[in-house]
C-alpha cells in the first residue's frame, strides 16, 4: 500500500469522530462489580433493604447482603453471606425486618434474630404448590403487591406438561400463607414485576404457544396462553370452569374471540431482535433520576445479555405497548434486577445451562444514567388510524414531517403448540401523513392499514433531532392487541 491514503485517513479521523453516531454508553453506564472469591454470584433475584443495602438471591441457593453498591467507587462494595443452602432463590421481598425468599417449593421468611448478619429463622410461609423433581419447574417470586400479597409464577414441567399441582400457573400468597390460584396459562416464566400503578406482569419465554418471548399482564382469573396446566382448574374452584382449549395453528387475535379468559401478551419481545429469553421486569419510579423514561418498564434478556424498554398503555381495557432496544453489553445472562430510588438499576444473572452473549458465567452489575438525555422515542400511542410518537428531544421538523422518514412492517406469530415460530402474515402499510406538533416533541403518523393483533415494527432511521442527531435506537415494536376507537 502507498503511504498517501494512510496519511489521508489519519487526518480524516477527527472529522469522523465528530460525526460518530450516538452510543448507548453516552447515556447509560454499566458498572460491573467484583464478587467474592469462590462464590458463584448467579443472581436470580435482587431486593432493596434498609440502610442502602441490597439482597441478592442466587441460583445456587445463597442470599448475600450487599453494602455500598450505590457508591460511586465500585471497589467499596461489600458482601455478607446471609443464608445458604436454599433451593434456588428466584424471588426476594423485604417487609418489616424479614426477607421473604421464593425457592423451588416454598416461600419462606428469613430473619436475622441475633443480629450477626446471618439468617437464623427459615420459616415456611407457603409450600402448597407441587414440585416433581424436574429441573425445569422453576418458581419466580414477586415483591409484595399493593394488597400485601406475594405472587409466584410456576414453570411447567418441561415445555408442554404439568405433572404436579399448579405447574403452569400464577399463584398469590396471602399474608397468612394461604395460596390462591390466580392465573393459568403460564409456560416458562422469567421474571415478575409491577408497573407504576402496581399492576402485575410477568415475562414468558418463546416455546409452545409462544412465537416469541412476551410481557404479560397477570389479571386474576385470566388464562395466559399455554393450556398445559388446565387440569388444575379442578383444584381451583375460585377460577370457575376451565376455559375452552385454544385451536392449534391459530392466531392470538382469533382465539381471543373464542376464549373469554385469554389475555393476549401486552408486548411481544420480538424473537432474535429484542431477545430470546426475557427475564426481569423493573419499573422506573426514580422520578427522573434514571433519565427521561419515568414509569416505563425495563425488561432484561438472559440470552442476549441486554435490557429493553417498554412503554405500555391501556386500549379498550387491554394492556399493550411498544418495546425498544435500550442497553446491551452486560457480562452474563441477566435474570434478576431492581432499581433504587436514586435511579440506580442493579442487575445480575448467569449463563448456566443456556449460554448468553455476555460470555461470563455470572455477573452483578449496575446501570446509571449519565445525565445526558438520549434522543429516543419516548412514548408510542396507538390511534384509530395510526400512532402518535413523542420524543425525548425536539425533532428536526423537515425530516420528522416527511412520511418517507418512517417505514413500517406488520407481522404476527402463529398461536400454536409447536415450539416458537416464524414471523408470519406480513403487511406493509402506507404511511400517508406525518404531522409534527407545535412543540416539536411529538409526531402523529397516519398509517393505512393498522392490523389488529399484529406487531407493528416501526423504523425511524431518517429522523433527526433539532440538534441534527439520529435516534439512539431507531426501531420499535408495538403489539396492537386493540385499535382505539377514538
Amino acid at each position: 500500500m502507498k503511504p498517501f491514503p494512510i496519511l489521508a485517513a489519519l487526518f480524516l479521523t477527527p472529522v469522523l469522530l465528530c460525526a460518530a453516531p450516538p452510543q448507548e454508553s453516552d447515556y447509560y453506564s454499566i458498572t460491573t462489580f467484583n464478587t467474592p472469591d469462590g462464590a458463584a454470584m448467579e443472581v436470580g433475584s435482587i431486593e432493596l433493604l434498609p440502610d442502602n443495602k441490597l439482597a441478592l438471591g442466587t441460583r445456587r441457593g445463597e442470599i448475600w447482603t450487599v453494602s455500598n453498591a450505590q457508591d460511586a467507587d465500585p471497589s467499596k462494595v461489600k458482601y455478607q453471606l446471609f443464608a445458604s443452602g436454599q433451593h434456588e432463590v428466584l424471588g426476594l421481598a423485604y417487609k418489616d425486618g424479614s426477607l421473604y425468599a421464593t425457592n423451588r417449593y416454598e416461600v419462606l421468611r428469613l430473619k436475622d434474630e441475633d443480629n450477626d448478619g446471618r439468617a437464623d429463622l427459615f420459616e415456611t410461609v407457603c409450600d402448597q404448590w407441587g414440585v416433581s423433581g424436574d429441573y425445569h419447574e422453576y418458581a419466580f417470586g414477586s415483591r409484595f403487591d399493593k394488597n400485601g400479597d406475594l405472587w409466584v409464577t410456576l414453570c411447567l414441567t418441561g415445555s408442554f406438561s404439568s405433572n404436579i399441582d399448579f405447574r403452569g400457573w400464577a399463584m398469590r400468597i396471602k399474608p397468612d400463607g394461604t395460596m390462591v390460584p390466580t392465573c393459568s396459562g403460564i409456560r416458562s416464566p422469567g421474571g415478575i414485576g409491577f408497573d407504576a400503578d402496581g399492576e402485575v406482569y410477568y415475562t414468558d419465554n418463546q416455546g409452545p404457544w409462544h412465537g416469541a418471548c412476551t410481557l404479560q399482564h397477570l389479571i386474576p382469573g385470566s388464562f395466559q396462553g399455554h393450556p398445559g396446566g388446565f387440569k388444575w382448574y379442578d383444584k381451583a374452584p375460585n377460577m370457575g370452569p376451565r376455559p375452552v382449549l385454544p385451536h392449534d395453528n391459530s392466531r392470538m387475535v382469533t382465539e381471543r374471540e373464542r376464549i373469554k379468559e385469554l389475555i393476549p401478551p401486552a408486548v411481544y419481545m420480538v424473537h432474535g431482535k429484542i431477545g430470546n429469553s426475557s427475564s426481569f421486569i423493573v419499573c422506573d419510579l426514580s422520578k427522573g433520576k434514571f433519565g427521561p423514561f419515568e414509569t416505563q418498564l425495563f425488561i432484561a434478556d438472559q440470552s442476549h445479555s441486554n435490557i429493553s424498554r417498554v412503554f405500555l398503555e391501556e386500549v379498550n381495557g387491554i394492556k399493550q405497548g411498544v418495546v425498544f432496544p435500550f442497553l446491551k453489553g452486560f457480562k452474563s445472562g441477566l435474570i434478576g434486577g431492581r432499581m433504587n430510588d436514586q435511579g440506580q438499576l442493579f442487575a445480575g444473572g448467569s449463563d448456566r445451562g443456556w449460554g448468553s452473549k455476555g460470555g461470563k458465567p455470572f455477573d452483578f452489575e449496575r446501570v446509571q444514567w449519565t445525565g445526558k438525555v438520549p434522543f429516543e422515542v419516548h412514548e408510542m400511542h396507538a390511534k384509530p388510524d395510526g400512532f402518535e410518537l413523542s420524543f425525548t428531544e425536539p425533532v428536526d421538523e423537515r425530516s420528522a414531517a416527511d412520511p418517507a422518514t418512517y417505514s413500517m412492517r406488520e407481522f404476527t406469530y402463529s398461536y400454536r403448540e409447536e415450539y416458537g415460530g416464524p414471523e408470519i402474515a406480513d403487511v406493509v402499510p402506507k404511511i400517508t401523513k406525518a404531522v409534527v406538533s407545535a412543540d416539536k416533541k411529538s409526531v402523529r403518523l397516519t398509517i393505512e392499514p393498522l392490523t389488529k393483533g399484529h406487531i407493528h415494527e416501526l423504523h425511524l432511521d431518517g429522523l433527526k433531532s433539532a440538534q441534527n442527531q439520529p435516534l439512539v435506537h431507531a426501531v420499535g415494536y408495538y403489539t396492537l392487541n386493540e385499535i382505539p376507537k377514538n
Binding site: 458463584a40 441460583r59 445456587r60 441457593g61 445458604s84 443452602g85 436454599q86 433451593h87 425457592n103 423451588r104 417449593y105 416454598e106 419462606l108 421468611r109 441475633d114 439468617a119 437464623d120 429463622l121 427459615f122 420459616e123 415456611t124 409450600d127 407441587g130 414440585v131 416433581s132 423433581g133 424436574d134 429441573y135 425445569h136 405433572n163 404436579i164 449463563d351 448456566r352 445451562g353 443456556w354 449460554g355 448468553s356 452473549k357 460470555g359
Partner: protein, 528 residues
Amino acid sequence: MLKTSLVILTGLIAVGASAALPETVTIRTLAAQMRYDTSDVIIRPGAQVKIVFENSDDLPHNIVFFQPGTDVVAVSNKQMEKPEEALKRDWLPDDPRIWLHSKLVNPKQKDELTFTAPDKPGIYPYVCTFPGHALTMQGRLKVLAPGPGLSDLKFQVYLGDWKKLPDFKSLVPHREGDLPGNLVELKFDDYRNQFGVVYSGKLNAPTDGDYTFSVAGDDGVRVLVDDKKVVESDGIHPSSEIRDGKVKLSAGTHNYRLEYFQAAGEAEIYAAWRGPAFTNTTLSKWVHPQAAEGSKIPKKDDSVGMPLVVGTEPVIYRNFISGAGNRGIAVGYPGGFNIAWSADQLNLALVWRGAFIDAARHWIDRGGGHQAPLGYDVFKPSTESALPFAVLASPDAEWPKLEKDQRAAGYKWHGYRLDEKRFPTFSYEWNGVNVTERFDVEGNAVTGNGRLVRTLKLSGKLPGNATFRVATGNAIQPVGNSFVVDGKFAVAVEGAALAGKNLLVPVRPEIKLIYSWPETLPQHASTN
C-alpha cells in the same frame, strides 16, 4: 462434563515424545469416600512413569498394582485369613502377581513410585489392600501401544449461530493459527458460544489397511480424510456418543480434517483413530470417558465435581436428593455425620458418614436429577416415603406410606431455625401437635465412636395410641441398649419395642434416638 476419573499421559501417547523424563500422574484418595480420584490411567508400553500417591483421607491406604486378570478383591480379602501375618506386612498381600506397590500411606501423607511400564499391553488392576477397602478402592492401569498422532495441525475459527455444521469452505475464518501440541483442543477462551472450528493436519498410516476414525462432540463434528467424509455426528447434542467410521488407507501421509461447531452450553471434542498395527490413539486433548473401552453405552461419570466441605459449622443443602425426595434438606455436620431430612415426608430420610454431598449435578449446566450422598454407609432409618407418626389399628398393621408426589395428609411443614452453632431444628405440625426435631453429634463418625443424637419434642394434645416408628428392617437385633437394623446401623431409644418388621415407640413429649454404626458397638468390634 467432569472427567477426573481418567488420566491419560498425553505426552506419552503423542508421537515423538521423549522417553527420557518420566511422565507424572497423581492418584489421590478421596476424603471419606473409600475411592481413588482416578480410576483409569493410560500409559505406553515401556514408558518411564512416576506415580505420586497422595492420601487425602483420614484412614491409611496403599496402592498395589497386579498382573492383568487378577481378582484383586479376592487377593485382598485372602490375607484376612492370617491377619497377624498381614499386619506385619502392613497389609500388603504376599502374592507373585504384584509388580508394583506403594507403602501403606498414613492420612495426609504421600508416596512416589517411579517405574518402567510393562512392555506387554494390557489392563493392570490396582487396589487398596487395607482390610475392607478393596471393594471400592480400585482402578485400572492400561498399558496400550499407540499409533502415530497428528502433525502440522492448524485451526481456523469461524463465528456463527448454527444448528448443523455449515459449509466452512464457503465461509471466511475469523482467525486461524497453529496447534503446536498437535492435539485437537478447544481453548478459544474468547468464544464460548456460537462458533465453529476446522482443524487440519497430517496423519501417517504405517501400513496399508483398514483404519477406524472415532469422533464425539458437543455440538456437531465431522471427520474427513483426504477430503472424504469418514464419520460425523452433526447437530446440537451432548458428547456422550462416540461414533466410528472406517476407511481404507495406503501406507503414507494423509490429510486429516475435523469440522466442529458449538451452539451453546457445554463444548467438547474427542477424536481418535486405530489401525492394523496399533490400538485406539487419541488425537484430541480431551479424552472421552468411554474412549479406552470403545464402548458405545453412555456411562455415568462417577468422579467428584463440587463436593461441599463441612467445616466447623453444619452445611445445609436443599435440593432434589435421592432417597429424600424433591424437598430434601441435606445437612452435613462437623465430624463426618450427614443426614437428609425430607420436607415431603416430614421425617429423617437418610443418614451417612464421611463426605457430605456433591453439588455438581445441580450446579453445573441446568442441574437436573436427584443427587445421592457423597459419603458411605448410607442408611434409611425408616425406608423411603414413610411418615414419622401413625395411629395404628394394631401394632403390626402396615405403616402408612406416601405415594409418589403425594403430600403428607395431616402434616404441615413450618421450616427450621438455626442455633448459635448453626445447627438446625426442624419444625412441623402433625394433627395439631407441634413437633420439633434436631440432631446433635458426639465424637467422629469416620475415625471414632461417633454417635448421632436425634431429639424430637412434641407439644400440644398427643393422640392416644399414637406411635413413632424408629426403624424398619428385615433383621432387627437387640444388642446391649441398641437395636442393630439389618447390620447397617444401630439405634438406641428408650421404650422401643419390635412389632413385626417395625421398631416402634409410643408417642411422648420427648423422643431421643442415638444412632451409631455397628462397628462402633463393643459387641460388633473386629467382626469386619
